[in-house]
């Protein structure tokens, strides 16, 4: 019962500390909300079919329709990309006056401005412009270029991929038409050939009548390395919300340290020691109250991500809850250790750098190998990996058990170090 009294007291104190509450709840939102608003939900350029989006500005219009060869190019590209030939009215409304003006006359050829704007605004890596006369040039086996707009600030791999796909498609289209033109020239020649030769050629034309399969002999199929499936495509928020949540949940270290420092400085801790309450009860009450607030913090941030920004929470709610509690527990126990060893100066900087190394702000695998070795020793790394396993990669409890074990390890080590110091008479003076 004394634990509950301490828990209630600490909760009241923490909840009345506006500065601390702001840093725990409002600061992560200050990062999450702008990112959610700046980047569209398909921030990875992925649509519902898990294909990257490719804006296309089509100028090759013949008799009010896309030219035959241009359409063939689009048919090839659609296998790899979700083409954005038209800007839907609701999307155009969000894109600003330039795009709205460009799309004032809806039609297949209105999207260059939209494509440019999307690339310039960092929403798309590439956009394609198919010029006027494209079909006619291909049909005549003449040289013509398509334009690929790219954003140098985006991931270069995405750009290289787009260039590869486009080069492959245009090459195939070009070869196909050169072949057809060659056959036509060959037809003109065979009119001059002897009767027996022409008969043999007619017989081979029966084979020509069967549909041509242009698909490559070798195909590549991408699959996830897990049995679990993502029901909804992951988006930017799947990285942002857990990232900043993990970053700021470890700010609880500072809150716990400050709370114990206050009790020590006001000598309330000494007074508590003159009451029948035991040291174990004191620590348990303190851990529980901070744990509750931390779990609440993660819950609120995830709920905001899910309710307002369409973030998914994976397929294993039980594992997510368990991981959440473990993450919070490791943060609270580290807070106790920070208080015990008077580690307060520079703590915020350390937490920010740790979040950076742990992949809270960008994927940790972008880090150089040396830093990826270092970040194994950060609880934030395991927390981030665990949340991404569950939320982004759709895994379940068995897959996140290593992360949970690692976080429990951090919690136990920190708690033991703190208790050792608290037992020191000098600390309690």
């Amino acid at each position: 019962m004394r634990i509950l009294s301490i828990l209630r007291k600490d909760l009241l104190i923490l909840l009345r500390d506006r500065g601390e509450m702001a840093s725990l709840f409002l600061m992560p939102l200050a990062f999450i909300v702008p990112i959610a608003l700046v980047f569209p939900p398909d921030g990875y350029n992925l649509n519902a079919d898990r294909k990257p989006a490719l804006p296309v500005a089509m100028y090759d219009i013949v008799d009010g329709a896309v030219g035959a060869q241009a359409q063939e190019l689009l048919d090839l590209l659609v296998q790899s990309y979700a083409l954005e030939q038209n800007t839907p009215a609701e999307e155009a409304a969000q894109l600003g006056p330039a795009v709205q003006a460009a799309c004032a006359k809806p039609g297949p050829a209105c999207d260059e401005a939209a494509g440019r704007e999307k690339v310039l605004r960092n929403w798309r890596t590439v956009a394609l412009i198919v010029p006027e006369g494209f079909s006619a040039a291909i049909a005549a086996s003449e040289r013509i270029s398509v334009t690929l707009l790219y954003n140098p600030a985006r991931n270069p791999v995405e750009r290289q991929l787009a260039e590869g796909v486009l080069t492959g498609a245009t090459m195939r289209l070009s070869i196909e038409h050169q072949l057809i033109n060659g056959l036509r020239q060959f037809g003109d020649l065979i009119a001059l050939a002897p009767e027996e030769v022409r008969r043999n050629i007619d017989r081979s034309a029966e084979f020509e009548a069967t549909p041509v399969d242009w698909s490559p002999a070798l195909s590549v199929v991408s699959v996830q390395p897990t049995a679990a499936l993502i029901s909804v495509t992951p988006n930017t928020l799947q990285q942002t919300v857990p990232g900043y949540t993990v970053m700021f949940v470890y700010f609880m270290i500072g809150a716990v340290a400050a709370s114990l420092k206050l009790e020590r400085n006001t000598r309330a801790l000494r007074r508590l020691m003159t009451t029948p309450v035991g040291r174990g009860e004191l620590l348990a009450g303190k851990v529980l109250s901070a744990l509750l607030v931390s779990v609440l913090q993660i819950g609120v941030l995830f709920a905001i991500g899910a309710l307002f920004f369409g973030m998914t929470l994976g397929n294993a709610p039980g594992a997510l809850a368990l991981l959440t509690v473990t993450v919070a527990l490791s943060a609270v126990c580290l807070g106790l250790a920070a208080a015990a060893y008077n580690f307060e100066r520079g703590l915020t900087l350390v937490l920010i750098v740790a979040a950076l190394l742990a992949g809270c702000m960008f994927p940790a695998d972008w880090l150089p190998p040396v830093l990826r070795v270092v970040n194994v020793f950060l609880p934030q790394t395991w927390a981030m990996q665990g949340f991404q396993d569950l939320i982004t990669r759709g895994m379940g409890l068995p897959e996140v058990l290593p992360e949970i074990a690692a976080l429990l390890g951090f919690a136990i080590l920190a708690f033991a170090a703190a208790v050792r110091k608290f037992n020191d008479e000098e600390w309690r003076r």
């Binding site: 009294s5 209630r8 006001t266 000598r267 020691m273 009451t275 029948p276 309450v277």
Partner: protein, 333 residues
Amino acid sequence: MPASILEAHNLVKKYGDLVAVNDVSFAIEEGEIFGLLGPNGAGKSTTISMLSGLLPPTAGKAIIAGLDVVRETAKVKQIIGVAPQELALYPTLTGRENVRFFGELYGLRGKALIERVDEVLGYVGMLERANDRVQTYSGGMKRRINLAAALVNHPRLLFLDEPTVGVDPQSRNHIFESVERLNREQGVSILYTTHYMEEAERLCHRVGIIDRGRLIALNTPRRLIESLGGGVIQLGLPGADESVRSAVAALPAVRAASFLAPEGAGLPEADQTSATGGQGKAILKIEALHSNEALLQVLHYCNEAQLQILSLDLLEPNLETVFLNLTGKSLRD
């Protein structure tokens, strides 16, 4: 003979080479207000820390209500209340929430807790402001809540460590009255530490004087003051030497005479040479049998001996003077 609620036997507390409390022994009788009087840093708070189970003594032992403080700490903590020198309260909680929290730690629950919290808040005169946050209180009001929190568990023995430091006169009087009523009406035994001699004289049945960790006197305030005889005269005599001191000590109305340590010497009594320090600034402390007669005789002697008097203080017989007489320095040094 009344039973002792507390017995301290040869308590010692050392921090490395520093001896904070040195062989302190005393007993507090049931229903007694016992004062520990001494300057800051004398060892009063460390003594309370050992007696309340907060710090283990380096040597010696303490018994409270028949319980060994070290071996039966949990039981001892149930029957004592501690109002520490520092305002050990939570500033963002209200006065009521603070008192209630400490009540819960002693196992009080439900209606009994609510009633007891109201009772002690009323006792210290803080019911009206009980629902305001402690951070909005004056220093005196915080002290009163500090006292209320120490009373919430119906303690048999109450430790009040410098309870009036930084307190306005109104709150100080309130605390005095609360302490007197607690002792008179509820029979609570109290260990009261202070460096204000007026408080010890007013409240305490007996006073122990502590300096540099040692208990150097213990008696009722009246007996301690009576030990001064007819008062103390301090005389600034440049160039006075041992012959002057012995001549003054031999005067009929004088009980004893000695040189005070020069300022900063850090000695309770100084010998003649160190007192003068070769600078001719000796202060002769004269314990009188009868102050008026002693004063006249001393002035007559100085006149006869053609000694120049630089200063003259006739000290009122009180605990401050007792402390000065015992240690050669003021309580507020």
